[in-house]
């Protein structure tokens, strides 16, 4: 800049050099500018990538499942718990996925019973009550919860939580504690909690996995409520809790609902954690500590044993389609709910 300050005197601020940098002046070649058109096309193509991706997923899974679609006994598939993929003498093959569906939905249900109140409560606390360091710490912890891989959650269920649950729920058959548990459908009559990996363990683990989803999305929804709402409520003499319950919850209702739905989506689609933590037993659970088996875990466990192209292989892809359809509808529905809110707020 020194040279500039030196030559300042001879520059007349009002002297405009018309040919200096007008649009007609010469243009030096710039490589990055020259690739503008191809880059834009490439960017456009990448913009489409998610559509291509989702279409490809559906297409390829459908392609593998297709030959089996007309041949599958759909009634059995949805109403029978008999899942016998490898026929044996006296034991004909049967693809009844009822128990698998039951496993998926019961674990998800238990996960949601735990995760929704905990998640919403934590989100409200973080967004409305926590301040400074506490808030930051909690956010980091939630993030870490989200970062822990599903296989590690499975490991935790198998090695840490499972033994704990087994200890708590096991009682001598006939003892009063055993009776209580049978009556409450906590444990089955014969064995108590026969093993640590069961419906409850899986549900708790799934709850821990969907909590971060629920918390972070609910927090977004709460943050989206304008501060003027809070101020108005507080000015009317509502205490913070009343503000939350009477003002924020109604205002953020759709966002909170969407958060819970996405949490549910995560629970339905989770694989490795439930593979390790639910006990992997193909039956419709009668008690909270019965081992179950989910659709995802079935695919993960059995795909390796199948022969390419045989009915078992194709039925696993059909299970994949069912999962894909369930989770996609959950996601699209929650997306519509959130977007609906945005539109309403704009108008």
């Amino acid at each position: 800049m020194h040279s500039m300050a030196g030559c300042a005197a001879r520059i007349d601020p009002f002297h405009v050099m018309p040919e200096q940098v007008t649009n007609k002046s010469r243009r030096k070649f710039n490589f990055l500018d020259s690739i503008e058109k191809p880059t834009e096309w490439f960017i456009r193509l990448c913009g489409w990538s998610s559509i291509i991706g989702i279409a490809a997923i559906f297409l390829f899974i459908f392609k593998e499942a297709a030959p089996m679609l007309p041949r599958l006994d759909w009634l059995t598939f949805f109403t029978s718990p008999r899942w016998i993929p490898n026929p044996a003498p006296g034991n004909p093959a049967s693809f009844g996925a009822l128990a698998l569906l039951a496993g998926t939905f019961t674990t998800t249900f238990i996960a949601l019973i735990i995760a929704v109140p905990v998640g919403l409560g934590a989100a409200v606390y973080i967004s409305e009550f926590a301040k400074g360091k506490v808030k930051e710490t909690l956010k980091v912890v939630i993030e870490l919860l989200a970062a822990i891989p599903s296989i590690v959650w499975g490991f935790i269920g198998l090695m840490v939580l499972g033994p704990l649950i087994k200890t708590v729920f096991t009682a001598a058959p006939g003892s009063w504690w055993g009776h209580v548990m049978v009556i409450l459908h906590l444990a089955s009559a014969e064995t108590g909690a026969a093993q640590g990996t069961n419906l409850l363990t899986g549900g708790v683990i799934l709850a821990l996995m969907s909590v971060p989803v629920i918390v972070s999305l609910s927090e977004d929804a709460l943050r989206a409520v304008p501060d003027s709402f809070r101020e108005a409520a507080l000015a009317l003499g509502a205490n913070p809790w009343e503000t939350v319950r009477r003002v924020l919850f109604p205002a953020a209702r759709n966002g909170l609902l969407a958060a819970c739905m996405l949490g549910m989506g995560r629970a339905v689609g989770e694989t490795m954690a439930v593979l390790l933590a639910t006990g992997h037993n193909n039956r419709i659970p009668a008690a909270l500590t019965d081992p179950v088996r989910t659709m995802t875990a079935t695919i993960a466990a059995e795909m390796g044993e199948t022969v390419f192209g045989d009915p078992h292989y194709r039925v696993l892809f059909i299970l994949g389609i069912v999962l894909f359809v369930i989770t996609c509808s959950i996601n699209v529905a929650s997306d519509l709910i959130i977007k609906g809110v945005k539109k309403a707020n704009k108008a």
Binding site: A5, P13, V16, V21, N30
Partner: protein
């Protein structure tokens, strides 16, 4: 028209945001090297009018305009590369925007994009533009500071410097003095009087006296309609063409 072909010409321009019409059959001409003052209450389509000139209206979702805007007889809608057009037109909007670059790079931004790379050439442009926008004395020792760290008024002058960096033939100023103190405003107005020797200036302002001081012609825009376009002396006289102009200029209606 003393200068022959008008520099800017609006023919029946209507602009819409979605279904809302903001400009209604705006028609006027601006001779070369003159200053046109555009006055009018808020929300009367002044900014939209500027955005049709350099086609930045394209960037607003749902916005479109009909009719013709001619620059030197060329329809802006016919420019194959609207960026060519934008380089010929300097634009200053009311909100000061310092780009997150150094002050030097802020001013050198547009010339660099035009392929000017020589250091001395850029130095000259930067100094000329900063002097023209009356910012040079304040920042000449800290040209490497971030432009976003300047005060609002300084950033506004930086925006003006940037707009001048391509030596545009048309300079559009949209309430440029909003964040600038009166003394500096007067100095910039002096500069504008000099600049009109080399460019046509469209001065949108809500300070009617500013239009009176600078403009050759004054256009009164109200609810998207041109109410009056006459030489400034007439527009600010006791008997403008339209009674409403008198009322507005004298603060009787708003």
């Amino acid at each position: 028209m003393i200068h022959g072909k008008p520099h800017i010409e609006f023919r029946d321009v209507c602009a819409f945001y979605g279904s809302k019409q903001v400009l209604r059959n705006v028609t006027f001409t601006v001779p070369r090297h003159s200053v046109i003052g555009v006055i009018g209450p808020a929300n009367s389509g002044k900014t939209t009018m500027l955005k049709t000139i350099n086609r930045t209206l394209d960037f607003i979702g749902g916005a479109r305009f009909t009719g013709q805007v001619l620059i030197d007889g060329e329809n802006v809608a016919d420019f194959r590369d609207p960026n060519e057009l934008r380089r010929r037109i300097g634009m200053v909007f009311p909100l000061p925007v310092g780009l997150p670059l150094t002050i030097y790079e802020n001013v050198a931004y547009a010339p660099r994009r035009r392929g000017v790379t020589a250091k001395n050439e850029l130095d000259e442009i930067v100094e000329r533009c900063l002097r023209q926008s009356v910012l040079w004395d304040e920042v000449k020792d800290r040209l490497q500071m971030l432009g976003t760290r300047l005060s609002g008024g300084q950033q506004q002058r930086l925006t003006l410097a940037r707009a001048l960096s391509l030596s545009p033939e048309i300079l559009c100023l949209d309430e440029f003095s909003i964040a600038i103190d009166p003394v500096t405003t007067m100095r910039i107005e002096d500069v504008l009087k000099e600049l009109r020797k080399s460019m046509t200036i469209v001065l949108v302002t809500n300070l009617v006296q500013q239009a009176r001081r600078l403009a050759d012609n004054t256009l009164f825009l109200w609810r998207g309609e041109v109410i009056e376009l006459s030489p400034t002396e007439i527009a600010f006289s006791d008997k403008p063409k339209d009674k409403r102009t008198y009322d507005y200029v004298n603060g009787i209606f708003g």
